[in-house]
Each structure stands twice: as structure tokens, then as C-alpha cells.
Amino acid sequence: MVEPVVLLTDVSKSYGTTIVTDVLRALNFRLEVGEFAALIGPSGSGKSTLLNILGLLDRPTSGSVCIAGVETTTLDDAALTGLRGTTLGFVFQFHHLLSGLTAVENVMMPMLAAKGRRTRSMEQRALALLDRVGLRSLARSLPSQMSGGQQQRVAIARALVMGPPLVLADEPTGNLDTKTADGVFALMREFNVEQRVAFLMVTHDPRLAARCDRTIELVDGRIVADRKTTTAP
């Protein structure tokens, strides 16, 4: 059997010591290779917290997090950083591109971080990806010279440049108009189908959720629904 990209076992997260807030309560779920899942739920239900834990940016208070077959509970910061760089891609609502770097340099960053230095082949790969997301002509532009949709496409290219098995997207279309949002979603779906990259996408848009393979619903830190979408494309 193929290892799932995500395997969560009894993951809980609480904040605070005197006044304890339980944000995630004993979550269990798995995400298979190449799956495209939507994570939905009301604001404050713990979606971002879950994504941060899956993204190895935060640690659970208890429980185990297995990413691409690696048990992460016992890893130190350096090991987590390395694993993050090679197996995970991130897309955020406010894209978080580096404002002083051009589009192509932004796309190259994960490769630079992994390798430690800049090489010529990195630029080739980054340019090819920009071409793939339709932004070849803006390769030398700064983020401030691009529209929101264009910036999000650059962020998607950046998330995929290392060829990770999993991309975590926190409201990637939350800041875009419907038409642009559809385009960005379609692009992620294409990568998902072509390269078998698994996606876990937080969204408030039921239309987009309906176009995912699976919908996981979080309320008050608990999974209240987890169903295969019947009308997946």
C-alpha cells in the first residue's frame, strides 16, 4: 500500500497556560497521494492552525503528525526545516512573495534554500514553471508590478518548484474576484492532475469546494464531516 502524504493521529492543539483554549481536538485523518481536498469551516474553527501543524510550522500539543511517511514528532528544528523545504509547498491568501525579488527569483527561493546557493539550472526550471503558469513575460517584474491573480500564480509556481508531494493552501483565492479565483483554482487542479500533487485547500467558497475530490469540515477544532465529492470533475 502507498504511504499517505498526511497521516494525523489524535492531534490536539491548545494555546495558553492559565486560560487554555483548545483549538484542535484529537483530529484523525489521512490524505492520499494525489488527493485534492477542501478544508472548510467557520472562521476560528482552527483551519489555519491545522495547516500550520501540517506545514511543520507549528507543533501539536499532543498526537502524531506523519508527512510523506516521516514521523515528525521527534524531529528537531533543522530537520523540520529540511523536510518542509523538500516535501511541502505553501500558498497563502496574501501570497507572501518577497517584495524585493523578481517573479523568477521568488520562484527560485525554495531551490536556493535547499541547495544553499544560486545556480543557472535553477533559473531555467523557475522560468519553465513561470511559463507553465502563463507568466513568462513577467519573469523580471517585482510583485508590486503584478496583479493579485498574477502574484498568486507566482506563489503557486513557487510552491511547486521543488516538486513536493503536498501543497498546503490557506484561502488561496480568498482575496481574488470570482473569475480570477476560478483561474487560480483551475491551475492548481491542473498541477494536481498532471503531477499527482496532493492539495489541502482552505476555502470559504462552496463552488470551489464542490470541485475538489473531498471536503473536510472543521467546527470548533473537530472534524464534523469528511465526504467524497460526488460531482468531482
Binding site: 489555519s48 500550520n52 506545514g55 510550522l57 507549528d58 528544528d77 533543522a78 526545516t81 529540511g82 518542509r84 523545504g85 523538500t86 505553501f90 497563502f92 496574501f94 507572501h96 518577497l98 517584495s99 524585493g100 525579488l101 527569483e105 527561493m109 525554495p110 536556493l112 534554500a113 535547499a114 541547495k115 544553499g116 546557493r117 544560486r118 513557487r158 521543488m162
Partner: protein, 406 residues
């Protein structure tokens, strides 16, 4: 290009205005340091050179004769005694050839000159002057004093009946090269000497007092046949003169006076000048460090989200630290290069404007690659140290927190 260099340069480029400002701040600081050091260094060097132009680094001479009371106190009797110093007369150093050989082999000593010196009277027609008669071997003496480079007329290589005098003495006696004058040392005997050269050592007192003759002439005039009254030394490093003098004292048992002893006042002045300049420089460095640190602290705060995303993309903590340390280092180095140029330019202008009547700069300006190198290293270290705090806080940033609050 390593990732840390790449990011450091991009961050600096992105915040051009801020970067330019801190580079300028560092540059002004380094310029002040270079200018101040060069000015004070030059001033001190010329002061010391001026002092040492008419003074041997070390003078070795026999111990003073002490007068002793003839009665000694015993348990039973007290003795009231008034001991007067004996009149000091010119005395020779015992076995001076032996001492000379020993001194010339001491480490740090670059030249030695045996000297026969004593008071004399110079007379020309009805003008009479008290002089200091100095007999020495010309080549050796000229290695101690820059006399041959300071000749106004004639040369310094006195024959048995020749003498070389200073400009003021020549004027006082109304003589010039080729003229004769009469020398006596108190007794009835006197000898005629021909003026063979006139010097100007840049010190009126010396120009008025010194009368240089051959060793044998001085020995005969001072009645010190075969003897010398002192041995003068030149050392490689002038500020080691006192420690070498101490070594001379302990190895020969003779009196050895260094220029540092006889110019204690000057040295205190130089030292306090140096330390006040150092205090100023410390404050300049502090100001530069605070400037660099504050700009980088602001930059870390502005870049919280970007640092978070960099960490999310697999950038190591150590890389983040390097990015900020490098920014400090780059600012420090670039600032110091600009500043060194600025300081040197300022010094050149200053030296060009303030000139003596003869065209030589009033303020000798000692700028050197060593000084520039030292300032640059200091600025580099300052930049790195100033960046340490912001770099640490950048590396400690919690990426989840930074991204969430973006």
C-alpha cells in the same frame, strides 16, 4: 552566489534609501576616525621628530660623583652634616671602547656615537660666546642627528682644526665658512679653529650653543686625552627608548637617560591627546553601531512576514542570521571605504589650506593604508556586531506567528 549573500544584497537594494543612509552614517563616522587619527598621528610624529632632531634617543654617561660626609653617625653620636654636591666636571666613561662595543650590539640600537662634550668659550674679534663643545666622529654623530641634511653652508666633517657651528652662533660671532675663531676652555690655552660648516637644526638654542669639532680636538681642549664623556644612541623604535635605556643601565651600571625621561611632559601631553582622540572614536563607533542596529531592527520588523515565508520554504535559521549579519558587514565595509576616501580628502584639503610661510603643511597628515585598513576592519566588526541583535531576533521569529499576523 550563496543564498545569504543573495538575500542580503536584495534586501539592501530593496531598502535603497535606508541602506544609503546607514552607509552614509558609517562613512561619516569612519571619515571622522580617519581624519582625526591621521591628523593626530601626523601631529605627534612631527612633534616627536622635532624633539628628536636635536636630542639623542639615549645618552649614556658616567654616574654623578657623590660627595660623602666624612663623619658617620654611630649609635652614640648624631652627626650634623651638610653635604654639598661636588662641582661636576667633564669625566670620561671608564673603558668606553668596551662599553661602546657592548651597546652597539644591543637589540633595538641602530647607531652609537661616542661624544666628548664640555663647555668652552668662542671668541671672534670682540664677540665672545659660551658654547657647548662637542667632539665626535662625524659619520657616527651624523647617524644620531640629521645634521648633514641640515647644512646651511659648508659640510660636516671637521678637520683637526676645523669646527662646524649653528646658524645663530655664526650670526652672533659674525662668521661664515672659512673664517677663524678662537676656542678656549677656561685655562690660558686657546686654539684657533676654522669654520668649515654652518647648520640649522631648527632649534635656536642648539643653533646658538653647539660647536662641533673632531674627537681629538675636543679631547685636547677639554683635557680628556683618549676619553669620551658620553655615548649617544639611536634606537629603531623611539617609544622603546626608555626600556632600552633601562637595559643599558642594568648591563653597564652607567647612567642612561632616554629622551622619554627628559621629555616626560611632552609624552604626557601626547598620551592625553591620544586618549582623548580614542574616546572620541569610541563614541563615533557607538553612534555608527547604533545607527546600523536601529535600521536593521526596523528592517527585521518590516520583513517579519517575508522571514516567516522564507522559513516555511525551508530556509535555515542560520541562513536568516547570516542574511542580517551580512547586511551589517556590507554596510560597514562600504561605509568605511567611502569614509576613508572622505577622511583622506578632508585631510588633503585641510593640509592644503593650512600651510606655513615656506609652503610646508602646518598639520602634517599621516594617512596610511594601515590606518585605512584598521578603520575598515573596525567598521566591519562594528557592522557585524550591530547586526547581531536584529539577526538573532529575525532567526527566533516563529514562522507560524509571522505568517498568521501578516
Amino acid at each position: 552566489m550563496p543564498i545569504s549573500w543573495f538575500l542580503a544584497l536584495r534586501f539592501l537594494r530593496e531598502g535603497r534609501a535606508q541602506s544609503a543612509l546607514i552607509v552614509l552614517g558609517a562613512a561619516v563616522g569612519v571619515a571622522v576616525m580617519v581624519f582625526l587619527s591621521a591628523l593626530i598621528g601626523g601631529l605627534q610624529t612631527s612633534l616627536v621628530a622635532q624633539t628628536l632632531g636635536t636630542q639623542a634617543h639615549i645618552v649614556v654617561r658616567p654616574a654623578d660623583e657623590l660627595a660623602r660626609p666624612m663623619l658617620r653617625a654611630t649609635a652614640a653620636t648624631d652627626v650634623l652634616a651638610r653635604v654639598e654636591r661636588t662641582a661636576q666636571r667633564a669625566r670620561s666613561i671608564d673603558r668606553w671602547q668596551h662599553v661602546l662595543a657592548r651597546l652597539s650590539h644591543m637589540p633595538g640600537v641602530t647607531a652609537v656615537s661616542p661624544v666628548v662634550a664640555g663647555p668652552a668659550i668662542a671668541t671672534r674679534a670682540n664677540a665672545t660666546r659660551a658654547v657647548l663643545l662637542i667632539g665626535a666622529e662625524a659619520a657616527r654623530f651624523a647617524a644620531i642627528y640629521p645634521i648633514r641634511r641640515r647644512m646651511v653652508s659648508g659640510g660636516y666633517d671637521p678637520s683637526r682644526t676645523g669646527c662646524v657651528i649653528g646658524r645663530e652662533l655664526a650670526a652672533d660671532l659674525g662668521v661664515s665658512v672659512g673664517d677663524k675663531l678662537r676656542l678656549s676652555t677656561g685655562g690660558e690655552s686657546s686654539e684657533m679653529y676654522t669654520v668649515e660648516g654652518v647648520f640649522d637644526l631648527g632649534n635656536r638654542e642648539v643653533n646658538r650653543r653647539w660647536l662641533l669639532v673632531a674627537t681629538r680636538s675636543a679631547q685636547s681642549l677639554l683635557d680628556l686625552s683618549g676619553g669620551v664623556t658620553s655615548i649617544e644612541l639611536r634606537v629603531a623604535s623611539v617609544f622603546e627608548a626608555e626600556s632600552i635605556a633601562a637595559a643599558v643601565r642594568s648591563s653597564t651600571g652607567l647612567v642612561a637617560d632616554s629622551w622619554m625621561q627628559s621629555n616626560a611632559q611632552l609624552l604626557v601631553a601626547l598620551r592625553s591627546q591620544s586618549s582623548s582622540s580614542e574616546v572620541i572614536q569610541v563614541f563615533v563607533i557607538l553612534a555608527v553601531a547604533m545607527g546600523i542596529a536601529s535600521v536593521l531592527v526596523v528592517s527585521v520588523a518590516q520583513k517579519r512576514r517575508e522571514i516567516g515565508i522564507l522559513r516555511a520554504m525551508g530556509t535555515r535559521r542560520s541562513t536568516i542570521v547570516s542574511v542580517f549579519l551580512l547586511q551589517g558587514a556590507i554596510v560597514g565595509v562600504v561605509g568605511s571605504l567611502v569614509g576613508a576616501g572622505l577622511g583622506a580628502g578632508l585631510g588633503a584639503v585641510f593640509a592644503g589650506v593650512a600651510r606655513n610661510a615656506d609652503g610646508t603643511p602646518t598639520f602634517p597628515f599621516a594617512i596610511s593604508w594601515a590606518l585605512i585598513g584598521r578603520s575598515s576592519l573596525l567598521a566591519l566588526a562594528t557592522g557585524v556586531l550591530a547586526a547581531a541583535l536584529p539577526a538573532r531576533s529575525a532567526a527566533r521569529l516563529d514562522p507560524a506567528e509571522a505568517i498568521r499576523n501578516g
